[in-house]
Amino acid sequence: MHASNAEIETLTCKAAVGVGLPAGLAEDAGVAAAWLSGAGFAGADIACRAIENIRKGRARPVIISGHTASLCPDTKGKLASVMYAAPSLFDFLQTTSRVTVARLDEPLLLFAHLVCSSSVRAMELVLHSVGSTGKVLQGVIQRGHGRLEGPPFSDQEAKNGSEVSVTMVGGSQDRNFKPTKKESETRRAAIQRGVEVTEAIWAELQRLAAHTLVPESATSKQRGAGAGMIDND
């Protein structure tokens, strides 16, 4: 099915709140998911997986692991939830040049978060992620643009988590970073026509988002909106 970028952002945000994520983190997750979708990735699927990881207890909030620039899950044997880790990682990058995350569940969503945040703070970053099978994913992020090197990770890496480091590039090595023609066309198509999402993922996000809705009651229906039921005037 077709969805707009705004819908991906809003529905991801609501679904994240629906599983108990604080509003500020959920907003960030929505923005990152929409960016991923617009870049041609399955943003809604990835966001949905990350939300489900939280709901099912597979992924947990992160804590500092000894060193101030190392994040890890707050529970041993669990994954680090990207929805908690990504905003914090970017926070730490504003005062330190390198941050790592252990056992991160969805590195692509982190990548997207960094791209979106780097546009606001004008930062240049390199993301290096090693999956549980040894696959390497590398991304360059510069002032609101991002480029990945290497194929997206498989479900296996997502299941077992990845070891991720993000480094701030001091003097830029690539100041003229520009999206390729293909990247630009993908982005433009997403803006012009929206993006494709599977109905199953859409339904799942809606189901999760429904936890933010208040069930109907007679009082709510009659008084909650401050208007009558019929307007034949």
């Binding site: 914090s88 039921m229 005037d233």
Partner: protein, 531 residues
């Protein structure tokens, strides 16, 4: 609205009815194409029968008298066929990126049939009846920015004609007005026995489009602080420019006097049932009368240096807030050469991020400086959290509940900014200064949204609604009016503390009048003289 009409005038837009397949009851499809210098946009309208027990302004409605889509370009037959099955379903339909806005409207049962039968009988409708309502149809929602699959804001943000906030939505409403005027004449003609007369032009121009607005606008105001800041900043800048004018030229004084006369008639014709608003209108009428007295005597402030500043100060000292705002609107009308350019500053596409390099002490200090009003609220007092905002499972209708007597407060929207700021502040006062903001937010992600807001609003000084939005005294109606006022809405007509009706485009030039030199002179619309 004014920005849109000015542009259509400046760029010589044309509006063409390219399809009008309505039956004798006015049911069917119509297409109106608005053509600017570079692009066209088309309103695709569908009118259907509606039982009286289905007609409601609420979001929970399932059917409407008419449904609309603003199409990006000129739709092909297959587009119209696709939209015919989707637009009438509104939120339950799915739309494409080629659609920019989705809307619906219901007939005014007080006016539509009356105007129709008058025209069918060969007589013009009574102006008093037109004044009482002011529109033939009332929109009950106007959705844009990607809702239900329509095109994203990013798609149109770079187009000069739609770059301003809500320009696509307002273009839709303007074209809906065209449709309603054509539809009522069409039905009248079909039902007449040869005596039909078209609606006289000045009456036609006096009919705008109604709008019923509920709580959905309030969360928007809270979640778009930068945008709101820009709107208010533009308004304040405009006022400041006028107040700095050193001398009032005679033609400006004449114009002011003429506008005062028109404004007084507008106020006289503004009738509402709501007692609070009625009292406010009476007060404004009397305030405008006082302004007229001030500027009619030899010692008028208008002969002084910085005359408008002096007049504004006098109003500020002795007239009601509503009268002061009314005066501001009048003053801004006098100097389009000073203020109109500010319309280009109204948009915001930006998004803020947290500055984690800020120290905890600096954050605390920012709160003390900008949120003193929030820190002074006693949130231990139950009344200070009497209400909560929520989204109902019933068609996602936004609602306002009582925290102590209704279920659902655990799912409230994050609109209690004052309370959240205060909670953060209290925690900051017991947090070690050595902790960095990044460390703090890692441990307390529940404060992330409010930290972002506090930091952003340190720059966007008008971005915050400085009130307790969950308090027992909170009147959401004020929030709705605030936003609608920036659209240029008139005839604010509250139906409860949570709900209002307004009129849009009343007095605006008709499509074939857009070229006229006075196309921008329709503020404070007044009833035409009977003839």
């Amino acid at each position: 609205m004014r920005t849109l009409v000015r542009r259509m005038h400046r760029e010589s837009w044309t509006i063409e009815r390219t399809r009008f397949n309505l039956d004798r009851n006015g049911f069917g499809a119509a297409v109106y194409s608005a053509c600017g210098p570079e692009r066209s946009y088309s309103l695709v309208a569908f009118a259907n029968p509606l039982d009286n027990d289905q007609r409601t302004d609420r979001v929970i409605a399932e059917a409407w008298d008419a449904s609309f889509v603003l199409y990006d370009g000129v739709p092909a037959d297959e587009d119209i066929a696709r939209l015919a099955s989707r637009a009438p379903r509104q939120e339950a339909g799915r739309f494409e990126g080629s659609e920019l806005v989705l809307s619906r409207a219901n007939r005014s049962m007080r006016l539509f049939d009356y105007v129709c039968s008058s025209l069918a009988a060969g007589v013009q409708p009574d102006i008093a009846r037109l004044t009482e309502v002011g529109y033939l149809m009332r929109t009950t929602a106007v959705y844009g920015n990607g809702k239900f699959g329509v095109g994203d804001r990013a798609k149109i943000a770079g187009r000069p004609e739609l770059a301003g906030p809500f320009q696509a939505e307002l273009l839709t409403v303007y074209l809906i007005r065209c449709f309603t005027l054509d539809q009522v004449e069409h039905v009248a003609k079909a039902k007449s026995s040869g005596r039909f007369v078209p609606l006289e032009r000045s009456r036609k121009r006096f009919l705008g489009i109604g709008n019923a607005t509920g709580l959905g606008m309030a969360p928007f105001l809270v979640t778009h602080p930068e945008l709101i800041h820009r709107w208010v900043h533009a308004r304040e800048s405009a006022l400041a420019r006028v107040r700095q004018v050193m001398d009032a030229a005679p033609e400006k004084i004449d114009r002011f006097q003429a506008l005062l006369t028109r404004a007084r008639q507008h106020l006289d014709e503004w009738q509402v049932e709501d007692s609070r608003q009625h009292a406010s209108i009476l007060e404004t009428r009397s305030g405008v009368a006082r302004i007229r007295e001030w500027v009619s005597v030899a010692a008028s402030p208008l002969v002084e240096k910085r005359p408008w500043n002096r007049l504004y100060q006098m109003a500020e000292a002795c007239l009601s807030v509503e009268t002061q705002e009314f005066l501001v609107s009048l003053l801004l009308e006098l100097y389009p050469e000073l203020v109109d350019e500010l319309e280009s500053t109204l948009s915001s596409e930006g998004r803020s991020s947290i500055d984690a390099s800020q120290s905890m002490r600096e954050l605390q200090s920012t709160i003390e400086q900008n949120y003193r009003w929030a820190l002074e609220i006693d949130f231990d007092h139950p009344g200070s959290q009497q209400h909560f905002w929520y989204t109902s499972v019933n068609k996602l209708e936004p609602r306002f509940g009582n925290r102590y007597s209704e279920a659902g407060a655990d799912r409230e929207m994050p609109l209690a900014i004052a309370r959240d700021v205060q909670r953060l502040y209290r925690q900051l006062t017991v947090t070690d200064d050595a902790v960095s903001l990044a460390q703090y937010l890692l441990s307390h992600p529940e404060h992330r949204h409010v930290v972002r807001r506090i930091q952003a609003n340190a720059v966007h000084t008008y971005g915050e609604i400085q009130d307790n939005l969950v308090g027992e005294d909170c009147l959401p109606l004020h929030l709705l009016r605030y936003k609608l006022a920036f659209f240029g809405a008139s005839k604010f007509d509250p139906k409860s503390a949570l709900w209002t009706r307004i009129t849009l485009f009343q007095g605006a030039p008709l499509p074939d009048e857009l070229h006229r030199e006075d196309a921008d002179d329709w503020c404070f619309p007044v009833a035409p003289t009977a003839h």
